[in-house]
Symmetry: D2
Subunit: 417 residues, 4 copies
């Protein structure tokens, strides 16, 4: 019976909760609650944008989203006895959309979620050069299953998981992050979308910190977008119920924070906001392996054991991509990013033959339980990646045959006005 | 009952077979045998280096391997009625090591196989900056299972698959390949290892071609190392028994060729010669979808449906990597290659805590049925990749616990003298 | 967003709910609520004995349970337009233990559940000749996982499912049931435990029926213990989330009722009360296939498609049994019941070598996600059944080895005083 | 590299091999070859009837088969050091149809196999009261896949396994078998088909035994049809490649024998000859656990761990049966045999709606990789069994829908003239 250690009123901004969360990584964000090893806890979460997106048929809200407010995290949870060098052992016992009595409402996670393609001018995404505008699909939840009026013909069983959890960085680690990301930005400071996001005071939220402490968090706190040494925005779809995660501990009390819950996601989360995004709850069991970082050599990134209750599919359409730009014929050297992008584009092209628009296909690949694999990474000069699309999520036959594809009108996703 | 349409005497070089194979891609390699849609065929194959590697405890042969002879391919198989624009439908009915009466012998695939780490000075591999020397592990086959005297403590059930199959390129496509790869090489022509391999007359083999035809193949034929639009060296571990592959057809008769059979491989084949390499046989059923490239939008790379008889594991240790160089703290922009390399290095570091040498761990990750996934590819600036290592392949407990890792002496792989 | 169409206050008997349920099958139990095809509904349930069992360390409550009150069913749910001959299509969207705000409490399903071995004198079970007394194990729920202080060393991920759902019988069908079961009872009317349970007025509950209608239900209504043509107490562990069930419709409005939710169960539910029993909720989507019974030949029993989110295990210890009584050496003719009993007893004997008591092993096999298969049913004279026990549910190595079993003190389950 | 320790010329009867096999269980069948713990061995096998069935379109051979010759077993294999009380550890490394150079020919296993429904007058089967005549389907093997001209619309990936392997009984154990089976026969000695098969001198084969030894084997040797304490004719479809079996040892040297290889089979092997029957080869690794019977309580039947390379399906049509005879409305008490028969008949009825004849459906259910489960065995008076039919083996949609079943002419199986 988990103890609710961080609660959320879905009708309010994270900023206005009785105990507010935070949206920057910093060692000095005050602990919201202390727990002890062996305890089972429930953490309630807001959707990552703090519920800026609505259950409607316009993508204007996606186009205009204010990313300075993201990600709204619940925590930090302090763990008694945790010290730098330990491994924080976190079992994901359960997670899901918002529960009763808040189960229906206007915030994502209250019976529904969404997948968004961000505009190139505001965040972009993996295929942003091919899809520079904003699009959206709304999903309705029925138990374990999601369907979308914007993507007829598919149903997914959710592989629910948190996009983002992590421990607090030490001051030294935070400094390393800021320096190395600044160095990257400086290589092309005016790029759109940018190469990385530096600390930003605008809309920074530091939990219960106030005064000079809050100012330091706003000034120096790392943005939450990437995954880093503390965990962070992994967006790993197999971080699901039943997983056991081993986080490196960088500060006393570990200070575990997170959120960005997903109802479903494909490997890569390719539309940037590619999962089915939602608020909700997550139940943990927490424990410690004292001195575990050195003992197990887990010194750079967390390790984990994935859960055992995700749906398993037995038939897939697989799309291959290699690290060559088809349009320009430029050949990249063992570049898995280019290869996976090509695999995604090949899948988009294939799905349009069945009547989906390109943006529908892109939304589908972001949110469906696809697998994206690094298949060959040594065969110079071409990296080879492969994308596995489960055929059972479609209510029509998506396999090739001599009869040709069953093309039909499949509507359209939400677009901008 | 498949018809043996390409046979191999494992005691002889591919060059000396009654019908020799080829080791360059070129539209004019003469068809070795014609088959018809609907036919079931068996193709026998040599190990990819033409059996330069021996069943012994020295890695000198790996260090000194002559790569100009690779990959030795069986074929081309001409398919009646195939024309450019069609999809060649290939079912992989069965494949395995060399069969009776040649089942035991000195060539890889005759009861044994090997995994090699190539020296940086001769080919290199995914972690070549960390492991610049040559190493080798020999594997013994017992039915579906492989074990290695050089890697005690692990047993794999093979996910047998061909590393390399493909259709012949058209003259125009070949020309594109040569131009774009030359352009890449020219960006750093003296690099070791090189960025790509240009056409090379030395040791070129053009099947039954002779005279000026053979000379043209040797002069212009594309090297076989990468995957390209025709398929090629995909090294996709799930291209296994039961798979159905749809290859684009670029020339009349399709001209299917291949080889480079693997007993097992992990996603990425990270040691370059990372699979368990072997000669053997492969049984196909071939068919055509006329005009299928345009009908299904399969215009750039093959698509396929993976097989259904590979072993499924239910428990994994998962290693995460992000696109930051740990040693230099350089931050790369959404670079999945760097992220997957970091995940691999994290796994190596972990396994050494149990007593494996780094090179043993590297060999293990190249050949074991690991999954390598592109987990997050949009969270600027860090790509996030994850590596799933099935725990059941170990005969000890490889999971973290408060008791610490069970370190013991696990010997060593074959090294150079 | 399912509509809560049947709600339960877990602090009260089913008899005292605002809309009471029923515990007999009869066509005249009044519809509790009407729903329409296409609707998503939530049904709340009491644990099957109406919460006679407590979260404590004594099995006296199991020994003394009053079975005349079972099973307490929620419903009947009337479906608009349903007529005899139709198939009622029921999707199980979700189910689980009791939800907030009733999630903790004294009734099974409020954060905990139990498994019981019934005394031979009061119900018995599959191995009742070997275990004639009452025993109990209490399970604590943590998200998807159950553990028991009475069964140390095991953890199960729940395959949650309803033990019992079904449509109302027609008057004619009910009459057939009563006649054929009476005929069976008459072959050995004094047997303990009895061969079957005839209608019984004591403690009969007919929903909102009153007066002569309630009397008729009490007098003629079929007991709920067995599975029959209407579905009923199937106790099929794979009737889990994501399942689609096709129930024959025997009366207008179909009148779907059920309950007896299980957190986990092994094939056979061998202790009689062998699942982890709980109250809770179940979410359905309902639909109709008009005339489907004849069209699909589904005229005798329901058919279903199992769900896709149960845990999958990849390693099992398998126990075989054949239809011979080991103690008496009596040989039964192709008797799968005797063969499966032998497989169960063989598994019990094996587990005691690791330190479990026989009754602990029996409780474990009733509730763990074991598979029980009819392996050979034609090889005269011996039926052969097999029992698959997943090894991953144990925190010790349960496989045979030359070293012998790791015997240790594993405590004891709840016993009678 | 397994040593071929028992070889078979598929053109000859088992009786005429250089080292003949045997078709009765008896402790005195002479060891055919000795092996040592740790050895890898290959055993070649004849199809179980000694190849009485032909690759043709008449079921006359099935109708007239001489069962006194069955099962033709390869062995006995003696294992050095094995003594009564040990467990013989047998790993199934590989198995398959007849290999080169005998891969094509007239004996089952030479590129083809068959499934038979035996006539009630000659063996019968699980549904013999419903299908009293003889029928047959011929299967063609293509790598891992079987298809049948007699069963259009289905393709199975084989779950290859041996139907029958076991150790020799001790004299005392053999005596128990003969006594208890005789007692069963005596309860209805004239039954057709018989309740059990007593020892029979006609066509008995005792390996290399001669003279009085051969006479004793013929006179007292147990028939090979059922599974018993030594293993025997288990017909467990999951005894596949990768399995590890632990056989009780009853005599010195263990004396392992077997055969009856199957390309595919459903749980229950319901047509009696319901698998896809073939000759072929099987590769073993053998080992011993000294004193293992007592240490692990494996005193009655073997235990095993199933293999990990069988195909896994993710979607099933499931048929339920309870222990009531639909035609007579007789109610049986917790009779899993009756319940599973009803589930089978329900599946047959369903499949006929798609155009299969009843006997085609019956042949399909015998040979396809169906799962047959003991679902509920305690809910008095009705046992409940369930039959899981994977939908992916059909090339049409076999699920129910509002549109009704896709009925079409699906030909017919081989019948008698």
């Amino acid at each position: 019976m988990p103890d609710v250690v961080f609660s959320v009123d879905q009708a309010k901004s994270m900023r206005d909760q009785s105990v507010p969360g935070h949206n920057r990584w910093h060692p000095d964000v005050p602990v919201a609650v202390m727990v002890r090893p062996g305890q089972q806890i429930r953490v309630e979460c807001r959707e990552w944008t703090d519920a800026q997106i609505g259950n409607n048929d316009s993508a204007n809200d996606v186009r205009d989203v204010d990313l300075t407010r993201a990600h709204m995290l619940s925590g930090p949870i302090g763990v008694e006895g945790a010290e730098p060098g330990d491994l924080l052992v976190v079992d994901i016992l359960d997670l899901g959309p918002v529960q009763a009595p808040q189960e229906y409402g206007d915030a994502p996670g209250q019976g529904w979620g969404y997948t968004g393609i961000f505009a190139k001018a505001n965040g972009g995404g993996f295929l942003t050069d091919y899809f520079p505008d904003a699009y959206k699909a709304i999903w309705d939840f029925a138990g374990q299953v999601a369907t979308s009026r914007h993507l007829p013909g598919v149903r997914y069983t959710g592989i629910t998981h948190p996009g983002l959890f992590g421990t607090a960085p030490s001051a030294e680690l935070l400094d390393r992050w800021n320096r190395r990301e600044r160095a990257l930005i400086d290589t092309d400071p005016d790029r759109v979308p940018p190469l990385a996001l530096p600390p930003l005071e605008q809309n920074a939220l530091g939990g219960t910190a106030s005064g000079s402490e809050a100012e330091a968090i706003a000034r120096d706190g790392a943005r939450t977008v990437p995954a880093r040494e503390n965990g962070g925005n992994h967006d790993i779809k197999n971080f699901t119920r039943g997983s056991r995660v081993f986080y490196p501990v960088h500060v006393n009390d570990a200070k575990l924070s997170g959120g960005d819950l997903h109802f479903s996601q494909g490997d890569g989360e390719i539309t940037f906001c590619g999962a089915i995004e939602m608020g909700g709850f997550i139940d943990f069991h927490v424990d410690l392996i004292k001195g575990g970082m050195e003992a197990y050599g887990v010194t750079t990134n967390p390790v984990f054991m994935p859960g055992n209750v995700e749906p398993r599919y037995s038939e897939f359409m697989t799309f291959i991509g290699v690290s060559v730009d088809r349009e320009t014929d430029e050949n990249f050297y063992l570049d898995a990013t280019v290869a996976y992008r090509r695999a995604c584009l090949n899948a988009v092209e294939y799905l349009t033959k069945f009547g989906y628009s390109g943006e529908q296909a892109y939304l589908l690949l972001g949110s469906a339980p696809i697998e994206g694999r690094v298949s060959g990474i040594v065969d110079i000069p071409n990296a080879c990646c492969s994308l596995y699309l489960p055929t059972a999520i479609f209510d029509f036959d998506v396999k090739p045959s001599a009869a040709g594809p069953a093309h039909q009108d499949r509507g359209q996703c939400a677009v901008t006005s």
